[in-house]
Structures are given as structure tokens and as C-alpha cells.
Assembly symmetry: C2
Homo-oligomer: 452 residues x 2
């Protein structure tokens, strides 16, 4: 498959040169559209053979819902069953379902297979000597090892708190960091464009402890506040730092995407409270496992207390499975041939190809733009590269299109509108982590959108 990707890239590059030389622009555009379409169809056919088991992803369409896209997974799920076969099928890239990673794990075979006997893990307790009493020691060990191998976070003298995904840990952090007896809820802010679920998660129970206060750039209220720093950022992929910078600020660093397939690892992060998740690091979203690295002991205790009240701990089965997956990832990084292909090299290359394809499709269409990034040296991969985020933050450049999400929906491409991220609806967020078949159909369709 990567050979096909490389072919497509070469083809695009050659075509790019021709653009400059011959300048028969309109004629060539039509020609390229035809060719890209053909090449991507070839890729699709070869992938259909590989991914025969993944047909559930794009299934039968009855009709395409006319309701606007929301950030709701429920709507996403509904949309998925409304997809249609063939040219007209709906491509749903609204959510960051990391199925791109299936290929690597299939290739690695039985290495990460886990066997759990029926009498295992009956107790609520995993490690009664740990503040986080439901943390499986084997999982904690592999988290520490992986961060050391990758060099993306300091774990020494920090506590590890496991959560049912980093979403639960985000709420545990809010609970732990909010004053318990304040007269009013503490403000929770993040610089726009911010992760679309932050506002709804923060406010869903109308908590008296904390309250969503919007874009950190325009936050002026005096007093204590919590600032969420997502770096690299979801949706736009830029490396970030806090923006409010006042003495009473408490920071939560969401580092879900601080892995070398997405961005250069420049230094081991060493913040007070850092969130990670297997969903974005290894692709195992169905496990629902995340972890927090926490400096302060009292904060770790309160986060543990929240998870105790919320779910009485975290699935042991998934923790044990995650431990095995992280172990195989670390092994793949440390040795060369015997332990299989380096997980991060493999997924880095997949994303590099996808981003090149996307940029070429954007260039060919002429109707869109995506962020430009500066290259940076990665201490893990030992080379410079530009960020290649898990999401594309795409802008509709046509003057007449104010609602990019609706525009793409009319092309049967489902994305998430910029408005959910506290930003302009001229932007949409597009998942870059879907299966090849779907992703390639997407770039093919995007490249063929021309000005009407």
C-alpha cells in the first residue's frame, strides 16, 4: 500500500513541475482529476483485499441525514449506518476513530494477544500500596518505560493515575483542582480553537465546582482559573503553551498527541498534570484506557477519589491488555529486526504519506487550505520533520462558503465544524486516522472539488 502512496506522490510532484512549465492550467486540472481518481481507485481495490474485515466502517445508506453535523458520537454512529456503497457513499471523518492503526497490529500478529482466565481480576483492587489503588502495576511499569523510550515525558517523582480514557481523567483533574468550598465555580478555559468536547464535558452536569469560560485568549476574569493546554493541539496540530499566564492559573496539559507519529519530540514534558491515552498513542480506542502523570500527591489522591466515585476504578482487563500493547511498542523501538517494525516509524510514515496526499489534493482543488508547519528536530526519530497531526484543520477558502461543514456535507464528506471548537465555521476538523480505504476516497473526492 505504501508503494501505491509513493507512486501517487511522485505523480503529483511531476504534475506540479508541469504546472510551472507548461501553464496549460485548466486542461491539466481536468487531466489530473482523472488520473488521481484512477490511481486512488487502484489503491482502493488493493486495500479492499487487505481490509476485507473492515467493511462495517462504510456500510449501507438509506438516506443522508439532513441535520447538521454535531460533535456528538451518537450522531456520528447514526451517520455511519447511513453511508452508501460506491461513488456516492458518505465518508465520515467527523470523529478521530483511530482505525488506521489496525494494519500495524495485524502485521505484528500474536505479539500483543492477551489471554485472561475466568478467575483473574475479580477484586476491585489492583495495588493497595499505591495511591491509585486500581492501577495495575504492570500497566504502570509499561507507561514509565514507554515514556523513557520515547523521551516525551518525565515520570520520575510523579504519580500515575489510570482512567477510563483521558476523558475521565480530564474530569478527575477538574474535580481535583477545583476549590471545594468556593463561592462560585472556578473558570475553565482553553485557547480557541479548542477540543470541541471540553465545553460539553465541563458543563454537562452544571457543576458548582467548575464552569466552562471559553476561549483563553479573551479570558479576563480575576481570580483562580484552570487552563487546558492541548499540545499538539486538537484540532489544529500546533504545539502550544499556556496563554493566560496569571499567578492564580492552574494548568492541565493534554498531551494525547505528543507522540512521534504526529509531531517532533523536542524534550521530555515535565508539567504538573499531563494526560495521555492509548486511543491516540497506539490506536486502541476501544480499550478506554488513559493515564495522568501527576506531580502533586494531593492532586493524585483527589483524582483517584473522583474515579472511585465515578466508576469504582478502571477495567483491569483493559489495563492488562494496554500493558502488553505498550510493552510491544517499547520493544519495537528498542531492538531492530527481531521485535518487528518500529511502531512509531511505521505510523509516522503512514501519516507522512497521508499529509502529502492531503496537501496535494488541497493544492489541486484550489478551494481549501490546511495549516503550514515549520520543521523541528525530533529527538526520538533523530531527524527534522514538520508536524503531521491526527486531524486536518481545513479551511474553505471560497468566499461564498461560510459554512465549510455544510459545504463538505453536500459532497458527502462528514467533518466537524469549526464552530464546535470556538472558531469560525469556515473551518472544519477532519480525522486523519481512518482506514486507508476511507481516507483515500476522501482525498480523491476532495481533490475533485472545484469552484462552481
Amino acid at each position: 500500500m505504501l508503494c501505491f502512496g509513493t507512486l501517487v506522490l511522485k505523480f503529483f510532484r511531476e504534475m506540479g513541475k508541469i504546472f510551472h512549465v507548461v501553464s496549460l492550467k485548466h486542461l491539466l486540472l481536468v487531466s489530473i482529476a482523472l488520473n488521481v481518481s484512477l490511481i486512488l481507485r487502484v489503491i482502493n481495490i488493493s486495500e479492499k483485499k487487505i481490509l476485507h474485515s473492515n467493511s462495517a466502517h462504510v456500510s449501507k445508506n438509506i438516506h443522508l441525514s439532513s441535520s447538521p453535523s454535531s460533535s456528538s458520537l451518537t450522531s456520528f454512529a447514526n451517520a455511519r449506518i447511513e453511508a452508501q456503497d460506491g461513488e456516492e457513499r458518505v465518508i465520515n471523518l467527523d470523529h478521530g476513530d483511530p482505525t488506521m492503526y489496525e494494519k500495524y497490529w495485524q502485521q505484528e500478529g500474536d505479539k500483543t494477544t492477551i489471554v485472561i482466565p475466568g478467575w483473574q481480576s475479580l477484586s476491585y483492587f489492583s495495588d493497595v500500596s499505591n495511591i491509585c489503588w486500581f492501577l495495575e502495576p504492570e500497566f504502570a511499569k509499561e507507561v514509565v518505560r514507554l515514556h523513557k523510550v520515547v523521551g516525551n515525558a518525565i515520570t520520575e517523582n510523579h504519580h500515575i493515575v489510570v482512567g477510563t480514557g483521558s476523558t475521565q481523567l480530564f474530569q478527575a483533574a477538574l474535580y481535583a483542582l477545583s476549590p471545594q468550598d468556593a463561592l462560585e465555580p472556578i473558570s475553565v478555559v482553553s485557547a480557541a480553537p479548542y477540543y470541541s468536547s471540553y465545553p460539553s464535558i465541563t458543563d454537562c452536569l452544571k457543576s458548582g465546582l467548575y464552569k466552562w469560560a471559553g476561549d483563553a485568549h479573551s479570558f479576563k476574569k480575576e481570580g483562580p482559573y484552570i487552563e487546558l493546554v492541548t499540545s499538539p493541539n486538537n484540532p489544529d496540530g500546533f504545539v502550544r503553551q499556556s496563554v493566560v499566564n496569571r499567578s492564580e492559573g492552574i494548568l492541565v496539559h493534554d498531551l494525547a498527541y505528543y507522540w512521534p507519529q504526529y509531531t517532533s519530540i523536542s524534550f521530555p514534558a515535565d508539567h504538573d498534570l499531563m494526560l495521555f491515552t492509548v486511543s491516540k498513542s497506539t490506536g486502541h480506542a476501544g480499550m478506554r484506557i488513559g493515564w495522568a502523570i501527576v506531580k502533586d500527591t494531593e492532586v493524585a489522591k483527589k483524582m483517584t477519589k473522583y474515579i472511585e466515585l465515578n466508576t469504582i476504578g478502571v477495567s483491569k482487563d483493559s489495563q492488562l491488555r494496554a500493558a502488553k500493547v505498550l510493552k510491544v511498542v517499547s520493544n519495537s523501538c528498542e531492538s531492530s529486526s527481531s521485535e518487528g517494525e518500529n511502531f512509531f516509524e511505521f505510523s509516522h510514515n503512514q501519516l507522512a504519506t497521508r499529509w502529502e496526499l492531503l496537501r496535494l489534493a488541497v493544492q489541486k482543488s484550489g478551494q481549501f487550505s490546511v495549516p503550514e508547519f515549520a520543521p523541528q528536530f525530533c529527538t526520538f526519530l533523530g531527524r527534522d520533520f514538520k508536524p503531521q497531526p491526527a486531524f486536518a484543520w481545513l479551511k474553505c477558502e471560497q468566499e461564498e462558503v461560510n459554512d465549510c461543514e455544510s459545504f463538505l456535507r453536500s459532497k458527502k464528506i462528514l467533518t466537524r465544524s469549526g464552530k464546535h471548537f470556538g472558531f469560525s465555521p469556515k473551518y472544519v476538523r477532519i480525522s486523519m486516522l481512518d482506514r486507508d480505504q476511507n481516507y483515500n476516497l476522501f482525498v480523491e473526492r476532495l481533490s475533485s472539488i472545484f469552484s462552481s
Copy 2:
């Protein structure tokens, strides 16, 4: 082990007869104390051989914490590592850790072993055609089958919503049933003694949607309210119905203990919203899997939405494992010899023995009382029996003891005070689901407590 239990019971029964005949009461009490102690020691020795792998449960003591028992699992965890070997060791029965069930699952061998390859369950989605899009179809199927086999709940024309334990589903229910735009939070009530975690879970985030309003018996406020009906009840084991009975009431039925090892199954429950959990049905608390059976489609949708916001779904690994466990349980009920011992018969018998031992210890000591239950016909086991709850609701009958939890703590027995259940501190809740070794040590110690 059951042979030893039966021996002990026979011994007690014989001794009971002697009580009536000879009336040399005080002399006999001393004699029985010695004998019970010896017999239980024999049981302990034989169990130590069986349960060699369970030594983590009661480990080394540095010192016994002097802080009062709380309903916190964190304190429980701390107390566990402070236990001491031998006669003086701490017996921690504060929490209902269902490790009693390990024996059955060890006996059943590989039947419930699950194998999960590394490329499985990467997606967030399980069944996009279901309202609860993160519900594994295999798990849903086995839930329906088990309720049919046991006859304890109607599932036809109901929705199943899976949760990270029934604790998460309880919160999902509060979210789904609370009016979103009311001027004040809806009152949440339950008849005392009520499950000790209800108040803290309900109020932990100071939600503007719902608020704990205490004992349902004394609830007088006009307007809508949510009443939690736990039946059989935690902590006291009695079968319950709603007590407020006003037109604006919304009921949530927590049926975690409505299984034939604990209580007679009199009819298939058919309420609007019913909660169940594997922790108490099969003993797999470490899986963190519960399910709700929900009549109203909109309520099922909102509960799903809460779980999406809270944890973006529920561990697929644990759902798949739970599916296998439920399947083996159903199989064990439907066929006789080839599919192993009937799970419910086995655990029913275990609890029957434990309750008899407890009642005899209470009788021997003369310092305590436990609830008396009337027998009822069980449609599943086909016979009459008295409830044998997962917790003993023990009362200190000594006039001078007002704080039963502290009193038992001085005897190195950790329990949960009645005050956490909205009730008198003369009561404590004691887990009946610990491993044999710990349970037997407990009844031995309890039986030897005499008036000072």
C-alpha cells in the same frame, strides 16, 4: 471446603440442642468458643493450601490506622496493607469485594478464558445500529439470555445500556432523568438505610441538575423527585418497593443483588429503569461492567450520551470477557453435568453456609443481632429459602456500645458504620463476599466477643 462448613454447622446444631437440655450455659459457651476456634483453624489451614495465590488480601501490618472507618475505598486500600499475620491481623470487611467467587471460577478452569488479539477492538464503536453505540452485541445477547434463564428481569422491548459498572449507570440515570432546564436541582432520595455511596456520588460535583435529599421516608418536598429503590437492599438485604409514591416521582431500581444466590426470585422485574452489575452477579468486580435495562427510548439515549461525555464508551475488552462469563453462567444453569456445576447453586450454597455460621457466631457471642428474614419461594431454584444477603447488617446490642464500627475496629474487624447509610451507628455493614480464609477468621473472632 463445604464439607468442613457442613461439619461446623452440624457441630453448632448439636451444641444448640445441648443448650436447651443441659442449661450449663456459661460452661458450654467457653467450651464452644474453644471448639469453634479449633474447627475454623482447620478450615483455614485447608484453605490456605487452596488459596495460596490470594495472600495479597491480608498482608503485613505496620500499625492499625486510628482514623475512623469511612465509606472510602482509598481508606479501605490503606487499611488492607496495614493488616497483620496471625491472631491479631486486621479483617477488612468494609467493602463488598466479591472474591468469594474466585473459587467457582478456578474450579471451572478454562471455560471462561478469553483471548484478545492486538488488532481487535481499536475503534470506539461497537454497534452503530444500536442507540447505545458502544454496546458489544455479544454482551447484549448474553445479558438477555441470562435474564431469561434466571427469570429475574424482563428485557423484551427494553434497551440495554452498558456502563463502567452500575455506578456509572446510576449517574447516567440521574443525568437522563433530571430536567435540563429546571430552576433548582431535582431531589434524589432513597429509604434509609440506603447504599452509603449514593449521597457522595450524587453530590460530588455539586450538580445543578440533581441533589441528594436524604431518606425517602422523611421526604416531604413537593414537585418532581428521583427515588432509588435498591432491592434486595444494600446494606440490609430486605426486598424493597418505593416508599414516597407520589405522582411526580421517577424510580430507579438498583437490582444488583436480585440474583438467586442472595434472594428468592419471585418474578421477572419489569421496571422503567433497572441496574445490574457483573460485580455482584458473577463476582467480576475488576471488569467494571454493569448494565441498565431501560424502557424509554429517550432515557436510553440520554444515558448513552452521559457515558459518551463521561468516558466515550465502555471497555470493549471487558464487555467481551463479561459476555463469555455470562454465557458460561447460563450454560451452567441450562445443562446439568457436562457444563459444570450450576453457578447459582454453588454460590447460593456458599452463602447459605456463611449465613448459618454468622447466625451461630452471633448467637454464641450474645452481643449482636442480624436481620431475620421470612422464607419465600424462588422460581429459579424451585424451593423456599430465606434471603442470604451479600452484606450482614449487624447491630451491636450492648447498651454501652453506641458506635458499633469503633467497637469492632477495637477487635480488628473493619466494617462500615450505619451512619454512612443514613442510619444509627449502632449498626454496621459487613461484607459476606470475602475469601473463605478471611470470612472464617471473622466469624471465629465475632463468636468469641463476650460482654466485658
